[in-house]
Symmetry: C2
Subunit: 347 residues, 2 copies
């Protein structure tokens, strides 16, 4: 219990609510004139910067949460690997939640921020951005960084930043590569269409085919889940429906693993008979045989960017929301490279 | 702020210190008669169980930390995958730390428990169990579960439980299998000998050879780190020193990945020329080609056991330390199975 000026005396002096003082001292967004009045009152009461800092510090939890869809997916492990040391260096502990990609769990985590058990949250991704998600983010008493999609028009005062990648460009890069090695019947194994990534990748596949002058054939599309076993089921279904498919674009690496399992079990040569491309370029891509060509959506970069945006808010106080975009790239490996052909070369 | 009896009034009534009451209500170990006096006083003051529970709850952080050596190692991811839902179900949030296997970081985490920012800690493993580790565990104000080795003779009153596996038996199972498929020059790629796992596995390798009547040849042993690139370096060194090696026992799956890389690059057939066995039976083992035979040390089971022991302490209060031992098993896959031979059969 420090002597001298307190939040209450500052609030009286400034003629504002204790809540407002607390918001200002917490660096939460507050009307400009309120901030000015609180800081003037704090100043007049000799509430010098470092005691302000101390008071601020006293309400810090020194914790940041990272909520991810699936702790079994190396994408999120790659993010944690980047986020954790950056937070540790800045003096924060990392709390992790697994939402299993369920909107209910996501909302639970976001609503939990009202208790302010952490100083900030990084969440990746939001299954879908519903009104409830937006409300929970606005009501949050700690800044949030969403890795993934977010509405352009977030309400005023929402303490949210956004890190996104451009999976459309990623899918395009993959299909251009498959086209370049002579593939024309390119199947697509996608995740659920009611997920933001699933919907985006479905649209991207269609666009990319069009750009390449290839017809869109729904027989070449199979929708399942973002897991290995589901990828195997989808691959089996697609291959039996369209035996002549010569490439499989997979919406993530786990789906691609399932596809490789089925192709091997059916004795189809990869990439000779069927080329395979994954997405996320996880550690698994260099473990499979043949190694897996995969679209890198910069998981590590996204993790670093998210930690950077959150730490910036926590260290420098209120500001306008920012969006960081990480450019995708294609990592070409054995699953699309025929022995004796150059990756980009024709078949 | 609840009406009625408080910790202070209970302390007065029981004629003990407030600290003692707090220890009892927190389930921290306390002299038997102190516990009895505090509970009697609480009872007489009408401090009924659920208000005791509430008071207890008020001092709970509802957080448990898991400190692991390497977040890039699927062993720990497998543990987190089991621990997180169990804690979530019990109303706890999971905090994670990465110690990079550094004793300093381990000590930092253990000493941090004096602040009691969590209600409990699961740590895996301890690089080495030094005097400082033991002191930090004894000084901890929250229960600790160590997954890995721990001295038999922990001091009285240490709030520590232990989950261990039996890597010696694991190594023996692997070598017996390699012997059964006709391998006689079995190399060993180990991790650092100054780590508990490294030292244990070195001893186990030697014992297992002896039991099988095979000579110990230090030329067949290479010591590196528990990572893929280090495993590749070690395999390269061993293969150039002893070209005739017909099997490689690897101290974890990451080392085995590195060994498979080198064997493929040298055009040696696996398992035809060289059979390979990993350890930990991670998700990677089913992703490599050939798939990797690996000793399962029950990562998932160890995670579940650790969470169970910790929750038991938190829910049922002080008790004697317990040790849970998870039995290893061997998962036989393609890296030791010649086409057309039964896994156990002779070559």
């Amino acid at each position: 219990m420090t002597e001298g000026p307190t939040i209450t005396t500052i609030a009286q002096r400034a003629g504002v609510s204790i809540a407002s003082v607390s918001r200002v001292l917490n660096g939460l967004p507050t009307r400009e004139d309120t901030v000015r009045r609180v800081m003037r009152a704090a100043d007049e009461l000799g509430y010098v910067p470092n005691s302000v800092a101390r008071s601020l510090r006293n309400r810090r939890t020194d914790q940041i949460a990272f909520a991810m869809a699936d702790i079994g997916n190396p994408v999120y492990v790659a993010m944690v690997r980047e986020i954790q040391p950056l937070l540790k260096e800045a003096g924060y502990r990392l709390l992790i939640h697994s939402t299993d990609g369920q909107a209910e769990d996501e909302l639970g985590v976001l609503r939990g921020l009202r208790e302010r058990y952490v100083d900030g949250l990084i969440i990746s991704p939001l299954r879908g951005v519903t009104e409830e998600h937006v409300e929970a983010i606005v009501a949050a008493r700690a800044p949030v960084v969403v890795i993934g999609s977010l509405p352009e028009d977030m309400p005023e005062g929402a303490l949210v930043d956004n890190v996104r990648t451009d999976s459309r460009t990623g899918v395009r890069l993959a299909l251009e590569h498959l086209h370049a090695i002579g593939r024309r019947r390119i199947g697509f194994l996608n995740g659920p269409l009611d997920t933001v990534p699933g919907a985006a990748r479905a649209a991207a596949y269609r666009e990319a085919l069009e750009a390449l002058g290839l017809p869109y054939d729904e027989d070449l599309v199979e929708v399942g889940d973002f897991y290995r076993d589901s990828g195997a089921r989808a691959a089996r279904a697609l291959l039996s429906r369209v035996p002549g498919v010569d490439a499989l674009m997979c919406a993530n690496d786990l789906i691609a693993l399932g596809a490789l399992d089925v192709l091997r079990e059916q004795g189809r040569d990869v990439p000779g008979d069927v080329a395979v491309v994954g997405m996320d370029d996880t550690d698994l891509a260099s473990v499979t045989w043949p190694t897996l060509t995969s679209v890198s959506l910069g998981s590590a970069e996204r993790g670093r960017a998210a930690a950077g945006l959150l730490l910036d808010r926590l260290q420098n106080g209120p500001r306008e929301p920012r969006v960081a975009v990480v450019r995708p790239s294609l990592t070409i490996r054995g699953s699309t490279t025929l022995p004796g052909t150059s990756p980009g070369g024709a078949r």
